[in-house]
């Protein structure tokens, strides 16, 4: 590592190399953080987490009691032992709180002024962060399992919503109504995800074992259905293609958008080429999955060989994406883990668990290096390196 630092300092190597090497090293050294904790607000299980993409400072969490909490992850005290405080929350006595469990929360991809949340009470609510009021509410006929808004979209403001019905709804935030319906699945849609590479490509996963990729500009149906056996492609074949041998629970694009990971109740995880739908046949072994809703897993970003973090019972299993090797299992929770998010700036992994009544949050931080102040970090907007940088 000192070799990398001195090479970076003298200009022999690209700054990106040091960043990637250090990120990889930190991910490989991930362990439960004894110094940091998150304030406990939720009374029951936490279903979803999202860290805002702009500064990676604020985190939203949605719980089974309908409560949404906003945390500030930054440590501005000089102490190493620190509890991340909740900035505000939409509690049970808020007039617009969700009636049932919140399934997905997501920050607005371009700034932290707005976030969206969807819940089993058949609504998708759009919230204004500063006033904590709902700016808009979309009502559906069936319970909503998952929603996603494209992180790279500039030409559209569509939110894809997966419900218990077989149709994927696309809601337009600008006009306030559902603008599209995508038909093709036969059972409930458990997960939806936009591609981080192209703003019009959407992947949807359903309980009928199928994963379909759509281009929302196209009127005539999905682009293709993923086939785990990589059979011959022909029009009529599409109806028999299955991505998994059970329900498909979770979807995640890799950070460059070239590959797609899917997880199913047949205890398998598969990696697909997102441009032609081919199964890359990377075998991760048995990935235990008995969740009846969506399973939220995440991939790392900015490491030399990307890793995927999947909740596996009460642990988190870490695999290398392209080779399928299991690196480690991160232990620390007492009950089953529901969701995890990865923060690429500090290689921090936060996961929440579901429990009966009591739940724990574990905030894991990789071993941090005494980094010199000129370590490159991508940041939007000017920020003066404050005294905080020293207690890294």
């Amino acid at each position: 590592m000192l070799g990398f630092l001195s090479a970076r300092q003298t200009g022999l190597e690209d700054p990106l190399r040091l960043r990637r090497a250090e990120s990889t090293r930190r991910v490989l050294g991930l362990e439960l953080n004894k110094d940091r904790d998150i304030e406990r607000i939720h009374g029951s299980g936490v279903n979803t987490l999202d860290i805002e993409p702009v500064e990676a400072r604020y985190m939203l969490s949605g719980g089974s009691d309908g409560v949404i909490v906003l945390y500030d992850l930054e440590n501005s005290s000089r102490q190493p032992y620190y509890t991340c405080k909740a900035v505000c929350s939409v509690g049970r006595n808020h007039p617009d709180v969700h009636k049932y469990s919140v399934e997905t929360v997501q920050w607005y991809p371009h700034d932290t002024g707005m976030f969206t949340s969807s819940s089993f009470d058949k609504t998708l609510k759009v919230w204004d962060t500063n006033t904590l009021q709902t700016a808009d509410i979309f009502n559906f006929e069936e319970t909503v399992y998952s929603h996603h808004m494209s992180p790279v979209a500039t030409k559209h403001c569509l939110v894809a919503v997966g419900t218990r019905g077989p149709k994927v709804q696309l809601c337009d935030l600008k006009s306030g109504s559902c603008s599209h319906i995508l038909q093709g699945h036969r059972q409930e849609i458990l997960a939806v995800s936009w591609s981080p590479r192209c703003e019009y490509i959407l992947a949807t996963a359903s309980a009928d074992s199928r994963v379909k990729l759509w281009d929302v500009r196209r009127a005539s149906g999905c682009l293709f259905t993923l086939d785990q056996h990589n059979g011959k492609k022909s029009q009529a074949v599409e109806s028999a293609n299955t991505a998994h041998n059970g329900k498909v629970n979770g979807l995640c694009f890799t950070s460059d958008g070239l590959h797609l990971l899917t997880v199913g109740t047949d205890n398998r995880m598969r990696l697909w080429n997102s441009s032609n739908g081919e199964n890359t046949l990377v075998n991760y072994g048995k990935v235990c999955n008995d969740s009846r809703k969506a399973l939220k897993f995440t991939v790392s970003d900015g490491c030399s060989s990307e890793f995927v973090f999947v909740p596996y019972g009460s642990t988190i299993a870490v695999y290398t994406i392209y080779s399928g090797e299991q690196i480690t299992m991160l232990k620390g929770h007492y009950k089953s883990v529901d969701c995890c998010v990865f923060q690429s700036h500090f290689q921090r992994e936060t996961e929440h668990e579901r429990g009966r009544g009591r739940e724990r949050r574990r905030h894991r931080i990789g071993n941090r290096l005494q980094a010199p102040s000129h370590q490159p970090r991508a940041r939007r907007g000017a920020r003066t390196p404050g005294p905080r940088d020293r207690d890294l």
Binding site: G3, A7, N230, A236, A240, V282, N283, C288, G324
Partner: protein, 258 residues
């Protein structure tokens, strides 16, 4: 000097130096660490031909190949290559959608020819089966066949397809699609499922639910195990139904926690 640093492999960044696993143990199961084809050839030797009076071709399972070739991704890719080259056929065994049987194409063709034609001499479906073996098998290496593929590309009519299903060469998958099947494989599947449960039961009944591999192989096989203990143990290890722990006395098979 800086050239060493260019390989960003996890080993350089592993914070703990893991001790190299001792490779010197003479493990009866890990003898083959080479390619998938060698693994399949070895597994096919384990299949008890006499039990089925030579009516079935020797079938190996994909999970058994995983136990012999430790890198699963490489094993999958090699099997896919072999399938594309036409050397092996992969069959969907009915009991579990994930369990695939692997048969050498030559064996499949000879056995199916011999046994089906012997069984249906004079019956109407002999002709359909012959046509299937001659035209479809070499052309299409997939596990399953679709309606339009069969009718348009290969020129089968609906009654002929029904005859193929009756003969046992095709199994219904969905409306308009069929899996490739081995006629007479029902008996094999029955013995296999019973044997798998019996071997798992042997591990389950052991103290602390774990058993040394050498001890398991040395025990007398219960009556339900007709295909051989080694055959089943390979399958259990590869399907991750037991955890393989290496100890100083050899490999230990332990039932997983859940």
């Amino acid at each position: 000097m800086s050239r060493k640093r260019h390989r960003l492999v996890p080993d350089s960044f592993g914070l703990k130096r893991r001790r190299e696993q001792g490779q010197a143990e003479a493990d009866p199961l890990r003898g083959e660490s080479g390619s998938a084809r060698a693994a399949v050839a070895e597994l096919v030797q384990l299949f008890p031909r006499g039990l089925f009076e030579d009516a079935l071709p020797p079938i190996a399972l994909r999970s058994q190949v995983y136990s012999l070739v430790p890198d699963r991704t490489a094993a999958d890719r090699q099997l896919k290559e072999l399938q594309e080259q036409g050397e092996i056929r992969i069959i969907q065994l009915g009991f579990d959608l994930d369990a695939h049987g692997i048969i050498f194409t030559e064996d499949y063709r000879t056995r199916v020819c011999v046994c089906v034609l012997k069984a249906c001499d004079g019956r109407p479906y002999a002709g359909a089966v012959q046509k299937f073996l001659a035209s479809v098998l070499p052309a299409c290496g997939d596990l399953s066949f679709q309606q339009d593929q069969m009718t348009q590309t290969f020129g089968f009519r609906d009654p002929e397809i029904t005859q193929l299903v009756n003969a046992g060469v095709l199994t219904v998958r969905d409306a308009g699609s069929w899996w490739l099947a081995v006629p007479g494989a029902g008996r094999f599947i029955k013995y296999f499922v019973k044997g798998r449960q019996a071997v798992l039961g042997m591990v389950r009944k052991a103290k602390y639910r774990e058993l040394l591999l050498s001890e398991l192989l040395g025990r007398r096989a219960p009556a339900a195990v007709r295909l051989g203990l080694t055959y089943h143990v390979h399958d259990l290890i590869g399907a991750q139904l037991v955890d393989c722990v290496s100890t100083t006395s050899g490999t230990l098979l332990r039932l997983p926690e859940t």
